[in-house]
Symmetry: C2
């Protein structure tokens, strides 16, 4: 029996390049996962000519015409005002809500996408605010890191929720059975870290939730080391860490190119080593792990990088594919419900401010 296709709703107008790279990206993703199907939202006149070049994709895709597209510089409020119920971005998300699609993918602007996803899909029960998670390449393979910038600040309960959701994602995407989870903190002895982070650590330690292993605190250099499968932090720090790491990788790439081009000997060296260096480049290619996953909503939305090319677009779709194929959303709902019940039963959730949260969520 053939499995049901995984249906991806694609905002074909998102990103810096629109259907130019998004349609070829979908075609690449289909090559890797022939059980994909696509719903493409956007200007049919712009999409069709690209689609015509990929007959196999054309056979697995439906085109849903709209003339409204969210611009990369639209403010979230502006995007909602002009694009709600009409834009390619909104319609892609709505397809997830109506179960016409399993996952939505957009390279449109993050703020607008998050605002629309929250408005359309709503947060899961007991979850206040969504988070952005992504795969982070480490020397021990990929880790899941969250929140990468959806929300500034997080209290202890929200950090626990991030841990549960991140662990569910690691299970599904990395195939780890009991993923290890660490809370990002700083190691200077004098100051023992943020109150909320300490409280979350105590909660995670004492509750000993059954689906992952709480490792304890980790520091910034533990992310690239791959010390844990899941690194949890609030969105401000997570976003700064991610961009600092991306910038550092680029910086070293620039140094390396300069060094290898400088002298005749180094150019000869480059000639011999170019295969190895290409494999290095591939290893740190950010396109392979493109895709910020919005977690905590009642539906999966993937944010592809705005400057994505076809390979990066295919990467974001592949992440969405893995999440849907392994039913991340149900797993996550299940884990959250069990964890919240356990925390409530032990009284730890209330003790750490669950009461106020329950009140504010109602």
């Amino acid at each position: 029996m053939k499995p049901e296709p995984v249906r991806i709703a694609v905002d074909a107008m998102g990103g810096d390049h629109g259907p130019n790279v998004i349609v070829p990206g979908a075609a690449l993703a289909l090559d890797a996962h022939p059980d994909l199907a696509f719903l493409l939202f956007g200007d049919e006149g712009s999409i069709r000519p690209h689609l015509a070049r990929y007959p196999r994709l054309e056979a697995r895709a439906s085109v849903h015409h709209t003339e409204v597209a969210v611009r990369m510089d639209d403010k979230p409020s502006q995007a909602l005002r002009t694009g709600r119920r009409t834009s390619s971005m909104w319609l892609a998300i709505e397809a997830v809500k109506t179960h016409a699609a399993d996952v939505a993918v957009s390279a449109g602007n993050t703020g607008a996408l998050m605002a629309m996803a929250k408005t359309c899909l709503r947060t899961l029960p007991d979850i206040d605010r969504p988070a952005i998670a992504a795969l982070w390449p480490t020397i021990r393979g990929n880790s899941v890191v969250l929140d990468l910038g959806a929300t500034i600040g997080a209290d202890a309960n929200q950090l626990v929720d991030l841990s549960i959701m991140g662990a569910a994602m690691a299970e599904v995407i990395l195939g780890r059975d009991h993923p290890t989870v660490g809370l990002l903190n700083i190691g200077v002895e004098e100051i023992k870290g943020l109150e909320d982070v300490k409280k979350a650590s105590k909660l995670l330690r004492e509750s000993a939730l059954p689906t992952f292993d709480y490792h304890g605190f980790v520091e910034g250099d533990d992310i690239p080391k791959g010390t844990v499968d899941v690194v949890v932090t609030e969105g401000f720090t997570g976003n700064i860490a991610l961009k600092t790491a991306e910038g550092t990788a680029k910086q070293i790439g620039i140094y390396l190119r300069e060094a290898l081009g400088r002298t005749l000997l180094s150019r000869i060296g480059y000639f011999f080593a170019r295969g190895a260096l290409a494999s290095l480049k591939e290893k740190i290619d950010p396109r392979k792990v493109n895709g910020g996953v919005f977690l905590g909503l009642d539906g999966i939305v993937i944010k592809s990088h705005g400057g994505s090319d076809a390979v990066a677009t295919a990467g974001a779709i592949a992440i969405g594919y893995a999440m849907a194929r392994n039913d991340l959303l149900s797993k996550m709902k299940n884990r959250l419900a069990h964890a919240h019940a356990a925390l409530r039963a032990s009284g730890t959730l209330e003790a750490a401010g669950g009461a106020e949260r329950a009140a504010s969520a109602s």
Copy 2:
């Protein structure tokens, strides 16, 4: 006329290796700056045999015996209890207070060093809490980044103070006349950053302080890009950014070594390119920019990395040398006094919470 020597008070017992690397490190620093003089604090019996191997250093150094040394795993409170007025760490700091030395350098544990420095030297007038600043290698040369972990959180006025102090350090260490200053923030449009960061940005924009140019917000990847001379953030985020960048640089180094050792061709390539790759290694050598500078205290203390070798120790001493030779402390006091007077005159300091701060500082 020969200039007065720059006198460095050295905690010879600090770090993982003690006098083994600290004495040779001081000798290396003296090679680079013959106008250095040293006060070495610690166990004379351990220091003298090393010192005897460097006659030029021996001639420029006095040894101040103490049997008490702060351990790397001492808690700050413990270090103060057992080491106040007696340990090599305390005595080195005290030499700065009594003007017997211009700068103190220690590779001892950060928490203990900060606690002792605060207790002994006190913070500058109008400064609540000290910060740790360091040089960060970027593709456009070094930048100054602070706070790297002295204090978690910072209000708007504290971020302004960090900007003033960081700019003074950039002037002195980088030789930039009107350094550019950026506030670290995240660029997701939906959420416009922390309230305190936004308020600090408004203060810096409106006050237009004369000694530096306020650039505006910067993101994580602007640090390695070198977009500004001075990057300002509170200590939690700064520490995570620093360690993430260090870890990422190591990660890519590991990938590069693996790639170049894998095949015969790549090993041949490495043979030809090894000179270029050595220059790359030197370029990203963290030992060259070793030294966290404690700012905001009435005296300059440099934290050398605990694992420092002689080269790294010399790097930390060289930073202390530059700060003292260019009279950073007076410049910083002067800049702070002028800026605070200007902010008070314009009413902006009070508006942003200066009143409470004045109260809490008294």
